[in-house]
């Protein structure tokens, strides 16, 4: 089975769970005065769940033949290991780390670390250039957002 049909299967299951919630669980907690309304909070989700299940079944059954020719620039997922998969996965991990570090170690430190490590992952080795660039970028964005625009960004690690 091709990837697009696997995805259709997953969406079918998601729509099923969503529909089950809408049809059987949501209405239970509905206050009495709302039950007289012609439309309930679950009405729209019910319709969506059914439509979504129909669409994913059609894709799953393979009624439609995609006529799109593979473009030269497209990535062939069957040969994913031919590409820089390791770098991409590392970068995604770095983003997750960044999300977790923003609060405890502050915006400036985590941003500089993120930029330097991401560029190093991609193969940048001239740290003499890289580190000052990262410092200036993090500093100026922080200054713009916090000092000029007045949106709070914790600059330093907790406790400072």
């Amino acid at each position: 089975m091709a990837l697009d049909r696997w995805i259709a299967l997953i969406f079918f299951v998601i729509c099923g769970v969503y529909g089950y919630t809408a049809f059987f669980l949501m209405d239970a907690g509905l206050p009495p005065f709302m039950q007289r309304n012609p439309i309930w909070p679950s009405t729209f989700p019910k319709v969506l769940a059914i439509l979504g299940m129909i669409c994913s079944l059609v894709i799953l059954a393979g009624f439609e033949k995609s006529q799109k020719e593979p473009e030269a620039m497209d990535i062939n997922y069957r040969r994913l290991t031919d590409y820089n998969l390791g770098q991409a996965v590392l970068l995604i991990c770095l983003m997750i780390l960044y999300a977790f570090s923003l609060r405890p170690i502050g915006f400036l430190v985590s941003t500089v670390l993120f930029l330097v490590m991401a560029a190093a992952t991609l193969g940048e080795r001239r740290f003499v250039v890289l580190i000052p660039v990262a410092l200036i970028a993090a500093g100026s964005i922080w200054y713009l957002v916090q000092e000029v625009l007045g949106i709070f960004l914790r600059p330093w690690p907790m406790g400072f």
Partner: protein
């Protein structure tokens, strides 16, 4: 009217006011480039400065400059790094980013600047002439018509339903609509599908989803395949090959600009519809009326597909001033903030504004022309430098794209969960892209879903049932139009396929 115009001109052309407008445009453009800071937040941030000025005309002129600057800045990030920071520039990235990838970033930015300018200016002319008349027409639109209008807006997905892709595009739209039901709806005051997670109480953030669907998969693709940052002919994407618009392109986009200025303006006049719907509708309509060979270019770097939403969203922004200035009804989030600023400056917008304080009314309208003009003059020379962003070495460009994507989601919410959602959805979106699922329909469904449901529910409550679907002629008409726009491409594709098969048989 002429007298008022003269008063407005003399107010707007004072030295301080011209400085205000230049400053406003510059601030707006540069801050607007950061994804996550749209016109609404920038205006909100600038309000204390504007009130500090004291003079209402000067303050409004500054805010108008910031507004137009921010819209243009938002288009820049959509075109260059596929990161639409505002809902109204999502449609810009459909064709703007492919153009930038073909090395035509400079041209794309120029087209965006010129279309925005024309949309805004023509919109201001229409505002000048028709404002009072349109305000009363806009009030004839009820929730059932809004619902139908959203359905027409959804038909923009047809652009992504190529041959054999119709059901994939439909499924993605439905997933988008499903995602829009997560959180606490405005109408029911009931948290839905949050799974008890507090952070989902207010639903998924628009920016989070926009970045996850567009910017992040693109960045991951760039990492996976280093050859992607080169053109097919071997040159780098950063090289700016074509800056000028050719005569043929100018001829192609001219009618688009004309049509979309009017259409966008009219949609902008409707309170609640706004620039986002205008841009999607503009894109959908232009695609559907284009000849077949041009239609296939939409989504792959069509100049028409870039000009249409850019013109429409600027015209709609101008249009949204009609209900604000004539009735005191803010039609969008941005105009609501402007209304707040006006009241803080001791000006009360409404039917009397034109009579009681003509200098303010006209100064605002004149400042719109000036804002658009200054923006064009300031930005056209800057475009080659802005486009140079793409020439930054790959090792620096990709970390910065990732950083700005994350910042966009973080600034607005100050919530790290949003970043995890962003990364998670980004990875899912990349996998979907591997399997040829179009991602834009999901975002369109998500943006329109909330408004669609609210208006549908309101109409249902007013009519106590779905009778409004056939009792209100305008609703029925709009819905039929939407059906036509959705099913026409599928029908055309099928006919073309049968014809091709027929020819093959004959051979």
């Amino acid at each position: 009217m002429l007298e008022g115009l003269m008063v407005g001109l003399s107010t707007a052309f004072s030295f301080t006011n011209i400085l205000m407008i230049i400053g406003g445009c510059l601030i707006g453009t540069f801050i607007g480039m950061l994804p996550g800071l749209g016109p609404m937040s920038i205006i909100a941030i600038m309000i204390p400065v504007a009130i500090g000025i004291g003079d209402p005309s000067a303050a409004l002129i500054l805010l108008a400059g910031v507004y137009y600057g921010a819209i243009f800045g938002g288009s820049t990030s959509s075109i260059l790094i596929n990161a639409p920071g505002v809902a109204s520039t999502v449609a810009t990235s459909f064709d703007g980013y492919p153009l930038a990838r073909q090395g035509k970033a400079g041209k794309a930015l120029t087209i965006a600047a010129i279309s925005s300018f024309s949309g805004g200016t023509l919109g201001a002319v229409l505002l000048l002439i028709f404002a009072p008349m349109l305000a009363s027409v806009a009030l004839l639109f009820h929730s059932s018509e809004y619902f139908a209008l959203m359905v027409v807006g959804l038909s923009a997905i047809a652009a992504f339903a190529g041959s054999g892709q119709v059901f994939k595009a439909l499924l993605m739209t439905i997933i988008g609509l499903i995602m829009s039901t997560v959180g606490e709806g405005a109408l029911f005051n009931l948290p839905r599908f949050t799974g008890g997670i507090m952070d989902l109480q207010s639903g998924f953030g628009f920016i989070t989803l926009a970045m996850a669907m567009f910017a992040l998969p693109e960045a991951i693709y760039l990492v996976l395949d280093p050859k992607r940052s080169q053109q097919e002919d071997g040159s780098k994407t950063g090289e700016i090959k074509e800056l000028r618009i050719t005569r043929e392109e100018a001829r192609a986009i001219l009618p688009v600009i004309g049509r979309q200025s009017v259409q966008g303006f009219l949609i902008g006049v409707l309170p609640g519809a706004g620039a986002t719907i205008a841009s999607f509708l503009g894109y959908a309509v232009e695609r559907n009326i284009a000849p077949k060979e041009e239609q296939e270019q939409f989504g792959k770097g069509s100049v028409k597909g870039l000009a249409a939403p850019e013109t429409a969203n600027n015209a709609a922004c101008t249009g949204s001033f009609v209900p604000l200035l004539t009735l005191g009804i803010p039609g969008s989030g941005t105009t609501a903030i402007l209304l707040g600023a006006l009241i803080a400056l001791n000006v009360s917008p409404g039917p009397r504004l034109m009579i009681d304080e003509p200098d303010i009314f006209w100064a605002v309208i004149i400042s719109m022309y000036l804002g658009n003009l200054v923006l064009l003059i300031l930005n056209l020379p800057l475009i080659p430098y802005i486009a140079k962003i793409l020439a930054v070495p790959r090792n620096y460009l990709i970390p910065f794209i990732l950083f700005f994507t994350l910042m966009g989601a973080y600034i607005g919410q100050n919530n790290a969960t949003e970043l995890l959602l962003l990364v998670g959805f980004g990875v899912i979106a990349t996998i979907l892209r591997f399997a040829d699922y179009p991602l834009a329909p999901l975002l369109i469904g998500f943006i329109l879903g909330r408004m669609l449901e609210d208006n549908f529910a309101r109409a249902m409550q007013l009519y106590d049932g779905p009778a409004f679907l056939w009792e209100r002629p305008m609703t029925t008409g709009l819905l039929l139009l939407a059906c036509l726009l959705i099913f026409l491409p599928a029908y055309r594709a099928r006919r073309a396929r049968f014809r091709a098969e027929g020819v093959a048989d004959a051979d």
